[in-house]
C-alpha cells in the first residue's frame, strides 16, 4: 500500500466516524418525528394531562422544564463565570487555585443521582424548601456548575496575555481589563458552556425524582415552592409506569420531540449570540 492509499484510508475512516455521529442523530430525530409528530397538536401543547397522563396535554411538563432551565441559567451562569474569572485572573498558579480546579474536575464526574441526594438533604430538608421547583432548580444548578466553570475557564484562558498587557499598559485596572476585554472576547466560549449546562439540566431525570418532580399535575406551579412536572420525567413515567404502555407510545415520542425542540430552541438563541460575538471580535 503506498502512501497515497494510506492517506485515503485514514481520511475515509475519519469521515466514517464523523458520519456515524450524524447518522445517529438523524435516526434519533427520525424516530421521534415519525412516531410523535402526529400527536403534537395545540391541545397537546397547551392542556393539562388527563386520565393518568394517557390523554390530554403536557403543558405542566413543558413549563416545568422551562422553569428549571431558567433557574439554571440565572444561578449557574453568573456563579460559573465569576468562579472562572477568579480562577484564571486571580489564582492562576496558587495552591488555592489548584485545589479549586481539582474540586471542579471531580465534581464534573459525580453521577447526577448523587446531586439529587445532596439536593434532597440540603434544599428539600435542611433549608426547608420542600419538594419544589426551587429545590430541583438549585440542585441542577450545582450539578451544571462544573460544566459552566470549565467552559468559561477555557474561554477566559484563551484570551491572549498580550491583550491584557496592552490594556494594563494603558492604565486600565485589572477589573477594567477583565470587563472591557477578557469577558467580551471569552463570550463565545461562555455561550458554549451555557448551551451545555442548560441542555444537560433540561434532560436530567434522576435528581428531579429526589427533589420535587410530580407524576401528574392539573395545575402549573405558581411559586418556586410548588411541586412541578418535567418533560424527561414525564417520559420516563409514561414509558415505565403507565397503565397502558403501548397506548401511550405515540405520546412518549411526542413528548421526547417537544423536549428536543425546547432544548434546541434555547440552544439556537445561544448559538446565534455566540456567532454574533465571534464576528464582532475577530482575532
Amino acid at each position: 500500500m503506498n502512501r497515497k492509499h494510506k492517506e485515503m484510508l485514514y481520511f475515509t475512516a475519519f469521515r466514517a466516524c464523523a458520519l456515524l455521529v450524524v447518522l445517529a442523530l438523524v435516526i434519533l430525530v427520525g424516530y421521534m418525528v415519525t412516531g410523535g409528530l402526529g400527536k403534537i397538536s395545540l391541545e397537546f401543547l397547551t392542556e393539562m394531562p388527563r386520565r393518568a397522563n394517557t390523554e390530554g396535554g403536557i403543558l405542566p411538563a413543558i413549563m416545568g422544564t422551562f422553569y428549571l432551565m431558567v433557574i439554571v441559567l440565572v444561578v449557574s451562569v453568573p456563579i460559573g463565570v465569576m468562579s472562572a474569572i477568579y480562577l484564571v485572573e486571580y489564582e492562576q498558579s496558587s495552591w488555592m487555585g489548584r485545589m479549586f480546579k481539582l474540586a471542579v474536575y471531580n465534581l464534573a464526574g459525580v453521577p447526577s443521582i448523587v446531586y439529587g441526594l445532596l439536593g434532597l438533604s440540603i434544599f428539600v430538608g435542611y433549608l426547608g424548601f420542600g419538594f419544589s421547583l426551587i429545590s430541583a432548580g438549585l440542585t441542577l444548578s450545582i450539578m451544571t456548575l462544573p460544566l459552566m466553570i470549565t467552559a468559561s475557564r477555557e474561554a477566559i484562558s484563551a484570551v491572549p496575555q498580550s491583550v491584557r498587557d496592552a490594556s494594563t499598559a494603558l492604565g486600565a485596572t485589572k477589573w477594567q481589563t477583565i470587563w472591557h476585554h477578557v469577558l467580551p472576547y471569552a463570550l463565545p466560549g461562555i455561550f458554549t458552556g451555557i448551551i451545555l449546562s442548560v441542555s444537560r439540566a433540561a434532560g436530567e431525570t434522576a435528581p428531579l425524582m429526589l427533589t420535587g418532580v410530580a407524576m401528574s399535575l392539573q395545575t402549573l406551579p405558581d411559586s418556586f415552592f410548588d411541586s412541578f412536572m418535567a418533560l424527561p420525567y414525564h417520559l420516563f413515567y409514561m414509558a415505565t409506569q403507565s397503565s397502558d404502555l403501548l397506548a401511550t407510545r405515540p405520546l412518549q415520542y411526542a413528548t421526547a420531540l417537544v423536549l428536543l425542540l425546547l432544548v434546541l430552541g434555547m440552544n439556537m438563541v445561544a448559538i446565534v449570540m455566540r456567532k454574533r460575538y465571534r464576528d464582532k471580535y475577530k482575532w
Binding site: 491572549p160 490594556s167 499598559a169 492604565g171 486600565a172 472591557h180 475577530k282
Partner: protein
Amino acid sequence: MTTAIHAEDLNVYFDKNHALKGVTMDINKNEVTAVIGPSGCGKSTFIRCINRMNDLITNCTVNGKVMVDGTDINDDDVDVVDVRRRIGMVFQKPNPFPKSIYENVAYAPRLHGIVETVDGKVKRRKHTKQELDAIVERSLRRAALWEEVKDRLDKGGMTLSGGQQQRLCIARTLSIDPEIILFDEPCSALDPIATSKIEDLLVDLKKDYTVVIVTHSMQQAARISDRTAFFYMGEMVEMGDTKQIFEKPARELTEQYITGRMG
C-alpha cells in the same frame, strides 16, 4: 538637557534569579534612548520597571528607585494607574484589541475620561463624541496611519498589516498623551519597509515625547537613538552618546558586542 527618568540602584529578582543588578542611569527628556544587549540580559525587565508592568508578574520583586518628575513611581502612595497613563508602552508583537480601529484608539481616553477643574473643584467627565473623534484622528495622524485608515475606522484592527497594526498600537498609546513612551523591540516582527516607517516615526515622536527603545538591531540603535545603554547579564555596562558607544566604547565588553565578537 533635563532628565526624564532617573533610575537608581534598580534590582529585580524573579524568585532567586537576580535579573537586574543595581542599574543606575539617567534618561533624557525628548531624546531617543536605545537599550541594547544580548538576549536575556534584562532589557525588557528594565523598561518594564519604568511603567511598573513587572507588578503583574507574581514572583517578581523590584527594589530601587525610578524617579519620574521628582517622585519615585514605586512609592506606596503612587497610583500605578496614573504611572501607566503617563508612561506608555508598545510591545514586541503588535497587539491591537480585536475591535475596530476607532475603538482601539478611543479605549484609553474613554477609560480615563477628562479631568477638569470647574469652580475650583476637580471633576471627571466623559468625552463627547466630537472630542473622541478628534483624539482618534490626532493620534492616528501622529502615528502616521491616518491616511491609510481614515476610510475604514470601523474595520477591525486585526485586519491591518503587521506594520499598520504596530502603528495602530502606537496611536493607541498616544491617545492619552503620555510623557514617556517605552518600546520593547517594536520592529522585530516587521519587514524592512514597515520598520523604516516606525523608525522615522520614533525620531519624529521625540519632539514631543521621551522615547526609550529596546532593540536587537545595532543599526537601528545607531540610526535613531541619541544615547545608548548596553546591558550584559543583568548589569548596565555602559551608557553614553550613541556615536561614542558605537565609535569608541569605553568598555571592552561593549566593543565585543557591537562588533559582533561576543560568543
